[in-house]
């Protein structure tokens, strides 16, 4: 597809297939596609996730990012291609299946139940219990202690784990969800636009937690439409557009400017300039767009990756 396509083997980190002892990815997609009726939502997507690496998925609205994570998180099933977990082909029938193999997803909007206390949210779906048989009851104190400790380890100093999670800020809520995934032994962490609704400072906080999760050895899939957020933390970048992969790069092969240019799409900008010209009367805006087109073209010509 592209000259700068990354060499998969270079990114492997001590993961071996349990049977053949050849290196495998923690999670990999090969030519994965999905259609809803006659609408093709995603086609031919290839990517890999490894321990201690951040794989960024970039794309504008409607590029197929959500479809992609829904396939990996077990909410939808792919129709084409192969989804491999530790080298073994899988197809998830429910989010529970994905969770059981260690894929945890932190959703942008539905990460938590607002009216429930933080500690109940933290352990939701994986509650700790003590006692036997029908008299099994929640180990409340232990869960509260663990919640407080785990969040403190992530650098979140909470006032009170008993308060409803709806009272936390958006960034804090994301962090609780990330801490929860890390605590429950997630191997792959999917973050769905965690910075989309956040301010600059809050975004920085979330990006730091992404790095912390990475340093703990998790494979992170970071979905975003903001290359400025993706570039500093990412190791690999998958660019999606209209349900198709338009590039898959290793960090060493691409710069932030090139990434931004690819995201912005030089062709679209040129088209916009043309339209403005036809309409006439938008001389200021036209000048700006033209300058941007030239800039995009420059970076692309300067050895950067070309449009696929």
């Amino acid at each position: 597809m592209n000259a700068n396509q990354i060499d998969q083997q270079t990114l492997l980190q001590n993961e071996k297939d349990p049977l053949t002892h050849t290196p495998v990815h923690l999670l990999s997609l090969d030519g994965v596609g999905k259609h809803y009726g006659n609408i093709i939502a995603l086609r031919d997507v290839t990517m890999a996730v490894d321990n201690g690496r951040v794989t960024c998925v970039l794309g504008d609205n409607g590029a197929g990012k959500s479809t992609l994570i829904k396939i990996i998180a077990g909410l939808h099933q792919h129709d084409e291609g192969v989804l491999n977990i530790m080298g073994e082909e899988r197809k998830f029938s429910s989010p529970r299946d994905a969770l059981d193999v260690g894929i945890a997803t932190v959703y942008q909007d539905l990460a938590v139940v607002p009216l429930m206390p933080i500690w109940r949210n933290f352990f939701l779906g994986s509650e700790l219990t003590s006692g036997f048989g029908p008299f099994k009851s929640l180990d409340v104190q232990k869960m509260k202690d663990i919640t407080k400790k785990e969040l403190a380890d992530m650098g979140i100093d909470l006032r009170d784990v008993e308060q409803p999670i709806g009272q936390l800020s958006g960034g804090e809520r994301q962090c609780v969800a990330i801490a929860r995934a890390v605590y429950f032994g997630a191997k792959v962490l999917i973050l769905d636009e965690p910075t989309a609704a956040l301010g600059v400072k809050q975004s920085g906080v979330v990006l730091r937690y992404i790095l912390q999760a990475r340093d703990r050895g998790l494979g992170v899939i970071f979905i975003t439409h903001n290359p400025h957020h993706a570039f500093p933390v990412g190791d690999r970048f998958l660019l999606l557009k209209r349900g198709k992969s338009i590039g898959y790069y290793d960090k060493k092969d691409i710069t932030l400017d090139e990434l931004t240019a690819q995201m912005a799409g030089g062709a679209e900008l040129a088209e916009l300039a043309h339209e403005l010209e036809q309409l006439g009367g938008h001389s200021e805006a036209l000048k700006e767009v033209k300058a941007e087109v030239a800039e995009v073209a420059d970076t692309a010509n300067a050895g950067g990756p070309k449009h696929a």
Partner: protein
């Protein structure tokens, strides 16, 4: 937090093992205000004092036992309905489902001349089955519970009347008083227990046990966590692996179980059931749950709240009689309580959602 900045840093031990300097000392009173049932509790206390002042008979032990009995017949159902409401759904078929359960037990054992207990067990199966069907249709069709249970309500109302006439030949089920097992079943479902000379109906104890079990499930078990989550945000709950479908169907079946307990009481308190009864009672159960602090939208509430709601209902119902007022006022009273309780709940929810 600005005022704490000027203080010297306190040693960690001074804050206590689990303390945090940013949490101000909350008095027990403030803690109480954070509970879902606080509005109902205040209402219940005010109502109790009010009727105690107005009527001499109201606070006599026998009158209290009667009030508790009246409350329990609402309260037993309010337990299931409260849990269901916390789980984000509600059930309009509960009132007639109670009668369906009683009719099943009486008509089956009468028609096939079996031991009454066979009918009682069959009624349990039918009650749980009605709950299961409600929940299952709700999950499969994704229709709102209002529509699904309204349909069940109408169908059960029709079935109650039609089948009773078809089998028993009358609008009332035939008497089963002389049948085998009737006396033992009456002892279980409709006897009285003497407490210090006061006869207290057994339903009061059923009610208390059900409230205790429901509270324990809600606050201290996994399932309770799932109920709150399923009602609070079903999608979020599903995404973290909570079996939302099973939880909701289970809740409808729990309502069915409560309906069975009350249905058996209704049957064995006498020996026959009127097939047209029960219509409208579903609202009383829902009102009790709402007055008790359960949010109609789900995710918030308590079993104790529903019990207090039922107690308020019982007090208002009997209190008006003891005060020798015109019982016409009762519905007005109930409406006013409902409105006030819902407003209090709204304020509580806003406070929980906002900083």
């Amino acid at each position: 937090m600005a005022n704490t900045a000027t203080l010297p840093p306190a040693p960690a031990s001074a804050a206590g093992p689990r303390g945090d300097e940013r949490i101000g000392q909350r008095s027990p009173f403030q803690k109480l205000l954070g509970r879902p049932e606080v509005g109902a509790l205040v209402g219940a206390v005010v109502l109790f004092i009010f009727f105690a002042l107005v009527s001499q008979t109201f606070i006599q032990p026998n009158a209290l036992a009667t009030i508790l009995y009246g409350s329990s017949t609402i309260g037993i159902m309010a337990v299931g309905v409260s849990l269901l409401m916390i789980g984000g759904e509600f059930d309009l078929s509960t009132g007639v489902a109670v009668i369906s359960s009683a009719l099943t037990a009486s008509l089956f054992s009468w028609n096939f001349s079996t031991n009454v207990w066979v009918g009682v067990i069959l009624a349990l199966v039918v009650s749980l089955g009605i709950g299961f069907i409600n929940g299952w249709i709700l999950i499969k069709t994704k229709l709102p519970s209002f529509i699904v249970t309204l349909a069940t309500f109408l169908m059960l109302t029709g079935l109650n009347l039609a089948l009773t006439r078809l089998i028993g030949g009358s609008v009332s089920s035939p008497s089963i008083a002389s049948m085998e097992g009737f006396n033992s079943a009456r002892a279980v479902f409709a006897s009285s227990i003497s407490l210090g000379g006061v006869e207290v109906k057994i339903t009061v104890f059923f009610w208390i046990i059900l409230v205790a079990v429901a509270s324990w499930i809600l606050l201290r078990t996994k399932v309770g966590n799932w109920i709150f989550a399923a009602g609070g945000d079903a999608n979020a709950a599903r995404a973290v692996g909570v079996p939302v479908t099973k939880t909701k169907i289970g809740l409808f079946m729990a309502v069915g179980f409560c309906g069975w307990v009350l249905g058996m009481h209704n049957l064995f308190a006498f020996d026959a059931v009127q097939s047209g009864e029960g219509v409208g009672n579903e609202f009383l159960y829902i009102i009790a749950a709402v007055i008790g602090g359960c949010l109609l939208t789900g995710g918030y509430g308590s079993a104790v709240g529903g019990a207090i709601g039922a107690f308020i209902f019982g007090m208002a119902n009997k209190g008006i009689v003891y005060a020798q007022w015109n019982p016409d006022w009762f519905k007005f009273f109930l409406g006013l309580m409902l409105l006030l309780a819902t407003i209090v709940n709204l304020i509580v929810k806003r406070r929980a959602e906002l900083k």
